[in-house]
Amino acid sequence: MGWYYIQGILILSGIYLLAVLGLSLLTGFTGLFSFGHAGFMAVGAYATAVATMKFNVPFLLGLALGGLAAALVSLIIGKLTLNLKGDYFCIATLGFGEAIRLILDNVQYFGGARGWPGIDLKTSLTNVVIINIIAVIILVNLIKSRHGRNMQAIREEEMASQIIGINVFKYKMISLVISAAYAGVAGGMLAHYTGFIQPRMFQLIKSTELTIMVIFGGLGSISGSIIGAITLTALPEVLRTFHRWRLVVYGAAVIFIMITRPQGLMGGYEITITNIKKLFSRITSFGKKKHTVGGDGK
């Protein structure tokens, strides 16, 4: 019953998941907060559409080009803003996201605000799943390497990172570019899923939702991001019959999660085979020692 519908939700979750994975690298592992990722998705969506529809590039290559385009844009943005701290960087990315949308609204070659209909429907559950598996593997391998560790060091303490020889700017940039590329590919898949793109699909609220998914799942946890993306894409669907109360519940749910589980669902933990084993042995041995991360000051 309703497989077509469920499939649709799965595909959409998968598309968002891809963007969330990228954002997770940036936010969860490098400690940078972006409100502009919908903008990167937009760049990816339009670039992919131009490649496949105007130049007849094959779908997968088109996706790669979409990712590349988003990466290039992020390179420029990063150059300008990665030296900014905290909220300044947030607002700068927010502005860039909006700026990208404003440009797309005005450029009639892409259909302007009226959008671009008639894009071939190429995104399927199969290719979404395969691309996501590849994306997760790449991300996990990256994070569990010296490069990923350098990013985490930056998240923890910038000055000390510098002192141990980490080129902070470079690693922030790598993180931003990779995450933008993920968002770009996600955008391309979105374009070929709905067959229609329009600048207003990539509003600020989309960036916000991506960030909420990352934090909901738990910063610095890839399995958390996966759970976050799927739960939060599905949640509004589950609530669909609540009509206008739906977003009220959604807003309340976000607050509730934050105040009851401020480290997010997974909070830095990963679901891996070893961890499952550990958990199991802990349960069986009634072990109760658990290190809590206690900080003082703020």
């Binding site: 109760k288 020692k289 658990k290 290190h291 809590t292 206690g294």
Partner: protein
């Protein structure tokens, strides 16, 4: 004046203080010594209300201490914390004024301010510098000065000589004795056990959350085993 009974503190699974009992007499200097991670700071934090004990009663002047830290400060208990915790975004002067936050006697405050400047002339030189840019030792002076500005009856000092030049360490201990003369009570946590014991009346040795030894400071200073464990070589 201060009595701690059967105090137990946990950090998550870590049992940091295990059934601590101490007593502080009015007008005395009481030293607590112990190695790293023994729980010294935790004890002071429990008294000032910054950590919530799981078990135990702390009474001050016969009454149980309130739970909220600012009310404890209001009773005249002031902590000069480990790691200084000065307000980096405020000037030196404003930091000192924050020390007197709960006081309203303008005239007395200004007198005390002068006193602090006398004790630490460097602070007077830097009146308008942002406290965050002070050197480590200057920050320590500021933290002490700020503590004194509260005009407390009981001062909790957490490693006041940390990071101070030898000359200044001497000064600090002189100041501690001065403060005692002003009829104030001091609970002193120090790594510099020799110095701490020499100024103290009573002392407690804390080890892994348990009081290992307590008694007259001079007696402890004579104790061979203590000397070996905490003083390294003697001079």
């Amino acid at each position: 004046m201060l009595r701690v009974k059967n105090l137990n503190v946990y950090y998550g699974g870590i049992h940091a203080l295990r059934g601590i009992n101490i007593e502080v007499q009015e007008g005395q200097i009481v030293s607590i010594i112990g190695s790293n991670g023994a729980g010294k700071s935790t004890l002071l934090n429990a008294i000032s209300g910054m950590v919530k004990p799981k078990e135990g009663i702390i009474t001050y002047k016969g009454k149980e201490l309130p739970k909220t830290p600012h009310k404890i400060v209001d009773l005249g208990i002031c902590q000069v914390p480990e790691g200084r915790l000065i307000f980096a975004n405020l000037t030196v002067k404003d930091n000192l004024m924050m020390g007197a936050y709960l006081r309203n006697d303008k005239k007395k405050i200004n007198e005390d301010l002068e006193k602090v400047y006398q004790l630490f002339p460097r602070l007077q030189e830097r009146i308008n510098q942002m406290a965050g840019t002070l050197s480590g030792g200057e920050q320590q002076m500021l933290a002490m000065g700020r503590g004194l500005m509260g005009n407390p009856d009981l001062i909790l000092l957490d490693e006041p000589s940390l990071g101070l030049a030898p000359l200044l360490v001497k000064t600090i201990f002189e100041i501690i004795e001065d403060i005692k003369k002003m009829n104030k009570t001091i609970l002193l946590v120090e790594q510099n056990a020799y110095k701490a014991l020499s100024v103290a009346d009573t002392a407690y040795v804390l080890e892994q959350g348990i009081i290992k030894k307590e008694g007259d400071a001079q007696e402890i200073l004579q104790d061979k085993s203590i000397l070996e464990a905490y003083l390294g070589k003697t001079h």
